[in-house]
């Protein structure tokens, strides 16, 4: 019991993922700033931001369903911490914990549920619009994400447990095959969409619907949303490393490789983010359902034939 709580709250769960996540967000902000010929924030800026938010007032809309409004961000936070524990233990100790890949896939949908409940409960028109976009974006990327997750399952000989998928990659990482490469690239785009990073920041769309579902949030509740988004920066790329790049090894030269693999994905995400404008929701749906899904299906077929 104590060990679980340690996993959950300290390492690799809440505390560790939060700190790492906020540092990665700093990398993101810094790189983005350099791309735009700006200076960028200092290293601990994100921590200051979060602490400041926790010190601020919480504004709650009078008309809103208050319990839902308050619990939605905390609900999302709880789910992300849980996901961080499951993915983190697979990344650090290479063990399967609490759930297999199907469980992880379904858990990942909960964040969108929380966003919709939180956004919808405030009664604001922009929040509701954003909530609607969030669920459409989920639909768009989920089809491809399911196909992406199938590729490692098939290549490992129909294993569902994350630790067994890692074992299957000891003889060769999945990205080395054609289907693995297809899966990795499309997986990267899915993650971009799941984290609502540009070009898929359609639900938030600051300039258009003013942060969408998060519009009415302030103070500690907004801090929870920001923390969850920061933690996603750690979890989702790590999941991709586990599924396609053979996971992490924390001995000898493996440490360097592990860090490089992870940073490779993060840098790719930041580059995609900085070089693309926001697309419309119907464009996103078209892209994922019409272009990405058939390509990924070809990947799945190839992986059945072991290519």
């Amino acid at each position: 019991m104590t060990r679980w709580l340690f996993y959950l709250l300290v390492f690799p769960g809440f505390l560790f993922t939060t700190i790492l996540g906020l540092l990665i967000v700093w990398v993101d902000r810094k790189v983005s700033a350099r791309v735009q010929f700006r200076q960028g924030p200092p290293l601990f800026q994100n921590f200051n931001d979060i602490f400041k938010l926790f010190g601020k007032e919480t504004m709650i809309v009078k008309e809103s369903a208050r319990t839902v409004f308050v619990s939605a961000p905390i609900f999302a936070f709880g789910m992300i911490v849980l996901l961080a524990t499951i993915v983190g233990l697979a990344a650090i100790n290479r063990i399967g914990f609490a759930g297999d890949i199907i469980v992880v896939m379904y858990l990942m949908m909960i964040f969108s549920v929380a966003v919709i409940l939180g956004g919808g409960s405030s009664g604001n028109v922009y929040s509701s619009l954003g909530a609607g976009r969030e669920i459409k974006l989920l639909l768009a990327d989920e089809l491809v994400f399911i196909l992406v997750c199938l590729i490692p399952i098939i290549q490992s000989g129909y294993k569902l447990r994350i630790d067994e998928i890692l074992v299957a990659q000891e003889s060769g990482v999945f990205i080395g095959s054609i289907s693995g490469a297809i899966g990795f690239i499309l997986g990267l785009l899915c993650i971009q969409a799941k984290m609502t990073l540009p070009p898929f920041h359609i639900p938030e769309a600051e300039t258009e619907i003013v942060e969408g579902p998060f519009m009415e949030y302030s103070g500690p509740l907004l801090a929870f949303w920001k923390l969850s988004q920061g933690m996603m920066y750690v979890i989702y790329p790590a999941l991709l490393v586990i599924l396609f790049l053979g996971g992490f090894k924390w001995t000898g030269i493996g440490i360097l490789y592990s860090v490089l693999k992870y940073l490779l994905i993060v840098v790719l995400m930041i580059l995609i983010k900085n070089t693309n404008p926001r697309i419309r929701i119907d464009t996103a749906l078209n892209f994922f359902w019409r272009i990405a899904a058939p390509i990924c299906l070809i990947g799945v077929v190839l992986s059945v034939w072991g290519l």
């Binding site: 679980w4 709250l9 769960g13 926790f54 007032e57 919480t58 504004m59 709650i60 809309v61 009078k62 008309e63 809103s64 369903a65 308050v70 905390i74 609900f75 936070f77 709880g78 911490v81 399967g96 609490a98 759930g99 297999d100 199907i102 469980v103 896939m105 379904y106 858990l107 949908m109 969108s112 549920v113 919709i116 409940l117 409960s121 405030s122 009664g123 604001n124 509701s128 619009l129 609607g132 669920i135 459409k136 989920l138 639909l139 399911i146 199938l150 098939i154 129909y158 569902l160 447990r161 519009m215 103070g219 500690p220 929870f224 119907d282 749906l285 078209n286 359902w289 799945v300 077929v301």
Partner: protein, 607 residues
């Protein structure tokens, strides 16, 4: 000594007849008492397996583990739905409702317990008739049409049931029309015809593709209590019960048939959920989901894999639980607001918080969110599917993988359409017209919240409770090994971890919060009624995508509705033949010669 099994039919039937002569209050009381008594009987059956019931030396009623599994859930669900109905059924239909209710339960029990072909046919047909009578109780303008459609599809499928059972009796005379232990080989035209006849009966009852079209209409136009009772609970139990019997003890099924069943299951999931997404009427939305979830059961029970079979049966009871929750919460909302149209609702979470909680749990459960019960059964079905896929040849692997992807994606679509459902009713901005709404009455809350609680309990304690106590005994009784799961899922652990993280978050929030209440911010404008987003239009982009746009248009013109198409063909033929009857003698004699020629040609060809 009275046979226990007969009591399951006689008691509710007697109550139904007695109810004819009493005022509504006593009808309610008697129905409630009989429901409690039936639950008590279930407990007796659980303790000690009762003796079979014979008539004229023929086995008529008998119960085994699968029968008991179906029986106990049909009693439990009808009991909870009865609690909901005690207060709130429309005044105009109340008196008929409490006559039909026990009657339905009696016929349903009869169909579950029957082991003789003829008895099964009778009770199966009678459940169809009560379904028709319930449909007639509706108050909408489409009620007569829907009732007719329901009767024709379900009643028409009874013809196939009779044909199938008679064929089996003919093929296996040694069984003496006693069912469930025939193990007929699925070879030869007659055996296959009989199989598909029974399959049609089972699909029409449960609402499987393509015989599902009566379900959404029935849900929209009949009283909502009956929608929760029949298409959501009892008919599902009966239909899938028949399917489970067919694939385990009636037939020795071949891999090709399994493939067909899995494909039909995947098609049911995806077609129905796509239709559900675009609905503007809450009941119709739930009706389409009542169809789509059958797909998972068909996939599970009809895949020929033990893990998936367990998952299919578990999904059956899970579905009855959460779908009843959703129907009943919608019923509470409808009775308070007076409308079932999603466009006219919104922001009710503040007015009906407990109903919202029950609906939320039901919605998350049907979408397969861990650690609720809907996820566990889907997870079992997927696992079984993976086992089937791993053992197939490469071409079939791809085919099955596509089916699996459709099923998994189906649950994302389910989530999406329920987010729309929840948003439209409970979230967003509340229209002024609904300011007077209050929380549902206590009996309705007891029903919906206890169903929601069962969703949670069955999710967390899936292994010790439903699986170990009810489903695994079915396997042991039919000589199958209890399967090992190769995936990893610990619902209790997930619950505790998530709960602890949520609690930590809550503590941080309460330690740091300083709340100020304020109005909505709309860029300085006043928040008016016109800035209300209902959520029913969430998926317009998807509806407008080609080729989905054309498919949706065809579906709305009912091109995929077997009932509509067949009725068009029938009326067309009737019109054609009636136009032949002009009353001219020359025409008639010409037809006689023409018909003779055709018969001559046929005779020559056959020779």
């Amino acid at each position: 000594m009275i046979n226990l099994l007969v009591l399951f039919i006689v008691v509710p039937l007697t109550i139904s007849v007695i109810n004819l002569f009493f005022p509504v209050v006593i009808r309610k009381g008697l129905t409630f008492l009989s429901s409690v008594f039936l639950l008590f009987l279930c407990y007796q059956v659980y303790l000690k397996s009762p003796a079979d019931f014979l008539m004229y030396d023929r086995l008529v009623f008998s119960i085994d583990k699968l029968g008991f599994f179906t029986l106990i859930f049909s009693q439990a669900l009808s009991f909870i739905i009865l609690i909901f109905s005690l207060k709130g059924v429309d005044k105009e239909i109340q008196s008929s409702f409490f006559i039909l209710f026990p009657m339905t339960v009696a016929f349903c029990n009869g169909a579950i317990l029957a082991v003789h072909s003829i008895v099964l046919m009778i009770f199966w047909g009678l459940t169809g008739i009560t379904l028709y009578l319930f449909a007639l109780l509706g108050r909408t303008k489409d009620t007569p049409k829907t009732a007719k459609k329901t009767f024709i599809i379900v009643g028409g499928s009874d013809v196939f049931l009779i044909l199938g059972l008679l064929l089996i009796g003919f093929l296996e005379p040694s069984s003496k029309m006693t069912l469930w232990n025939v193990h007929l080989a699925l070879s030869g035209e007659l055996a296959i015809t009989a199989f598909f006849c029974l399959l049609i009966a089972s699909f029409a009852k449960a609402g499987g593709f393509p015989f599902h079209t009566w379900v959404p209409d029935f849900c929209q136009d009949s009283p909502i209590e009956s929608a929760a009772l029949l298409p959501a609970s009892l008919d599902k139990l009966l239909g899938i019960y028949l399917l489970a019997r067919m694939v385990t003890s009636l037939y020795v099924v071949t891999p090709v048939i399994y493939l067909v069943l899995i494909t039909l299951g995947a098609l049911t999931v995806i077609t129905a959920v796509m239709m559900a997404m675009i609905q503007h009427n809450g009941r119709k939305l739930l009706g389409y989901h009542a169809v789509s979830q059958v797909g998972y059961m068909i996939m599970g029970v009809g895949s020929g894999n033990i893990v998936a079979y367990v998952g299919g049966l578990f999904h059956l009871i899970n579905h009855t639980i959460y779908k009843s929750t959703l129907f009943l919460t919608l019923g509470s909302v409808e009775k308070k607001t007076g409308t079932g149209n999603l466009d006219d609702m919104g922001g009710l979470a503040k007015k009906m918080p407990l109903t919202f909680v029950a609906a939320l749990i039901g919605a998350l459960s049907i979408s397969g969110i861990p650690p609720l019960n809907g996820f566990f059964s889907k997870w079992l079905v997927y696992q079984g599917m993976f086992e089937v896929i791993a053992g197939s040849s490469k071409g079939i692997q791809v085919w099955l993988l596509v089916c699996l992807v459709l099923a998994v994606f189906g649950s994302a679509l389910t989530l999406a359409s329920f987010m729309k459902f929840l948003h439209a009713i409970y979230l967003g901005k509340r229209p002024k017209s609904l300011d007077h709404v209050t929380e549902a009455p206590a009996n309705q809350l007891v029903a919906t919240l206890s169903l929601a609680l069962i969703c949670i309990v069955f999710g967390l304690l899936a292994m010790p409770l439903p699986l170990n106590k009810l489903i695994f005994p079915i396997l042991t009784q039919s000589g199958l090994a209890i399967p090992e799961f190769f995936g990893l899922y610990d619902p209790m652990l997930i619950f505790w971890l998530f709960g602890s993280a949520f609690l930590v978050g809550l503590l941080i929030y309460f330690a740091t919060r300083r709340v100020r209440l304020d109005e909505n911010y709309l860029g300085g404008m006043e928040s008016e009624e016109k800035f209300r987003i209902v959520g029913t239009a969430f998926y317009n982009e998807i509806r407008q995508m080609s080729p989905l746009r054309s498919i949706y248009n065809w579906a709305e013109r009912k091109y995929f509705d077997c009932y509509d198409m067949l009725s068009k063909v029938a009326f067309g033929l009737a019109h054609f033949f009636s136009s032949m009857h002009r009353g001219l003698l020359q025409m008639y004699s010409l037809w006689i010669v023409f018909g003779f020629l055709i018969m001559l040609i046929i005779a020559v060809v056959i020779r």
